[in-house]
Amino acid sequence: MTTIKDLANKGNLFTQGHRACAGCGGTVILRLLMAAAGKDTVVVGATGCMEVVSTIYPYTAWNVPFLHNAFENSAATASGVESAYRALLKRKKTDKKINFIAFGGDGGTYDIGIQSLSGAMERGHNLLYVCYDNGAYMNTGIQRSSATPMGSSTTTSPAGSVVKGKMQNRKDLTEIMVAHNLKYAAQASLSNWSDFVSKVEKALAVDGPTFINVLSPCPLGWGYDTSLSIELSRLAVETHFWPVYEYEDGKYKINIKPKQVKPLEDFLFKQARFKHLKNEPELVEEIKKSVEEKWNCLLQKESSCK
């Protein structure tokens, strides 16, 4: 098993000096991702917080080849780089093994980039797509996305006197990826870093497209103290809000099953985006119901695939 020491010794492929906010979950995801992937990796990033904070010209936080094209096309772009690599292999101009990773936030993945992602996955390119899901368009100032959880207050779904935040459930992107017949798809949380690292290693070992969705706490967008990012990641898992699971060769496995499930309120009410729900018990019940339904559905999938 990989230890923190092993990871630290791999060197900084995603380095300090980037402009991310204190407590940013996204940069922790990238650092772990790169430590797991290693130096022989090409990264393609979608427009968004992580691209903006890491590549302000003439600086870069990337010690691996990094390519940014636009917002909605990191998967298609990565499929092109991977195709160029296959062309080199075919012409016997290289024999190196190279990993290809594309990433995007939930806006660039669930919403505007889903077509590009779906196409790249269906075509079977040998690449890993990582979504850092912070549940809204944080880069443009916290607008709702299709990953925004129900009840969340964002700048385009504000908690108003009539409408209490976002009224729709979030899209289940990981299951949409499973429906692409991927050999490997997973959800991970920063609270379980070693689980995330081993998922990256597993995904990169697969010959074909793979997908990992990582919950990415955002102090600014979620409204909490910057010291609580990992704590909130943990609470998201312990309340069943963000199940940590994987789909591998047609089988589901829930990697983290909290022994004692915590009340969803423990997760919700540490964040300003949900604080208006304290006066909306019916809405909280609805959210809880939906979270539990998802969890039970996953349990069923896990047992039926055994």
């Binding site: 090409v42 590549t55 870069t60 499929s79 780089v81 196409g119």
Partner: protein
């Protein structure tokens, strides 16, 4: 085996692509360009090329994948038309801004609405400011030759290039084509080399940085200056192509312009119709000529003025409109090219052929009559006329 064959514009472009044998082709079907990638995919699946073919789910993803491949140092081509080019629009700027070589075989077709599948130049003209070199072809032969030449121009100058034909008129019309041997094409295009690429994992680079107020202006100014410098290099590369491949292309084709009193300026297939008319009128002693710019971007303004400044009247044929009340794209370029020139021939724009409306020899003859009247009058407006329109 004879090197003379009969091919449509699409077949000719697909054949050029086969002979170039690019590393990556990412494409999406669209009428009337579909055949190009359709034919090319049979080359791929029959093992006639080494290309990795990426059949994407949209034109947006096609050009996005092309950017990825080009950034990886690959020789890259694609093909599209109309709405497809419009869907690529965002990424066209990025291709040029990143200075990535790439060739699009673009088949000119009208843009919606109303939806229409036939030829006009709205699609290509809609992307004229994206930083691409734009080349027009009159027939299959030019489409074939200029596709091969475009690969060279693109890779030498680090500008993406679109080579266009006219939808259906050229893309689907069979004509005589003189082809090169595969080896000739391979030796002409040579090996593609890039100074940097993202597949060089031992020398990591960042491509597509966020560039703010402190550097953006310099980078865009460099790009603009390089496009200015590209004009001389394009001329050299046309001359080099003529020499190596035994062709005779100029960047601007002149026909009977030595002593012409009236000139027709047209892009693409219509130039052929105008030339036919010109021959007939010359037999009657009329001093008319035709000017066909092969390249629209960069625009060869002083060269166009030098060819045209001595005529009495210039009839510009525009197969696209800018909806600005000031006429079409070619007219606006040419008119501004004449600014502060000592000689100022009369100039009028004739917008024709939108959505594939046919243009006949008779229509162009009427245009010539009209430009003669216009240049003999003292009028300066209206200088835009929509022709072959039902009353």
């Amino acid at each position: 085996m004879s090197n003379i064959v009969a091919k449509t514009g699409n077949e000719a472009m697909a054949e050029a692509m086969r002979q170039i044998n690019p590393d990556v082709v990412a494409a999406y079907p669209i009428t009337p360009a579909t055949e190009i990638v359709q034919i090319f995919s049979t080359f791929v699946n029959d093992g006639k090329v080494d290309t990795i073919f990426v059949p994407t789910e949209s034109e947006h993803s096609a050009i996005s994948a092309c950017i990825g491949a080009a950034a990886g140092g690959a020789r890259v081509m694609t093909s599209t038309s109309s709405q497809g080019l419009a869907l690529m629009h965002e990424i066209l700027y990025i291709t040029a801004g990143l200075r990535l070589p790439m060739v699009i075989c673009e088949v000119n077709r009208a843009l919606s609405a109303p939806i229409n599948i036939h030829c006009d130049h709205s699609d290509t003209m809609g992307s004229r400011d994206a930083g691409w070199i734009q080349i027009f072809s009159e027939d299959s032969q030019e489409a074939y030759d200029q596709t091969i030449l475009a690969m060279k121009i693109s890779e030498e100058l680090f500008f993406p290039v679109m080579v266009t034909t006219d939808g259906f008129i050229i893309s689907h019309a069979m004509s005589r084509l003189e082809v090169f041997d595969d080896k000739e094409v391979q030796s002409y295009v040579g090996e593609h080399k890039t100074p940097y690429n993202v597949l060089d994992i031992d020398n990591p680079i960042t491509v597509g940085s966020l560039v703010l107020q402190d550097y953006y202006m310099e980078i865009k100014t460099q790009q603009a200056h390089e496009m200015m410098k590209a004009k001389e290099k394009i001329k050299e590369l046309y001359a080099d192509f003529n020499k190596k491949m035994k062709r005779n292309y100029s960047i601007i084709e002149e026909y009977f312009m030595e002593d012409a009193e009236f000139a027709i300026v047209a892009l693409g297939s219509t130039a052929g119709t105008a030339r036919y008319l010109c021959e007939k009128l010359r037999e009657k002693g009329e001093k008319v000529g035709v000017v066909k710019p092969r390249i629209f971007r960069p625009f060869f303004a002083p060269e166009m003025v030098a060819i045209l400044e001595n005529v009495k009247g210039i009839a510009v044929l525009d197969r696209s409109d800018m909806m600005s009340s000031t006429g079409g794209h070619l007219f606006n370029e040419l008119k501004s090219s004449f600014y502060r020139n000592s000689k100022q021939p009369a100039m009028k724009d004739y917008i024709y052929g939108l959505g594939g409306r046919d243009i006949t020899v008779g229509d162009i003859e009427n245009v010539l009559k009209d430009i003669k009247d216009f240049s003999n009058s003292k009028e300066t407006t209206p200088d835009v006329k929509y022709i072959t329109v039902r009353e």
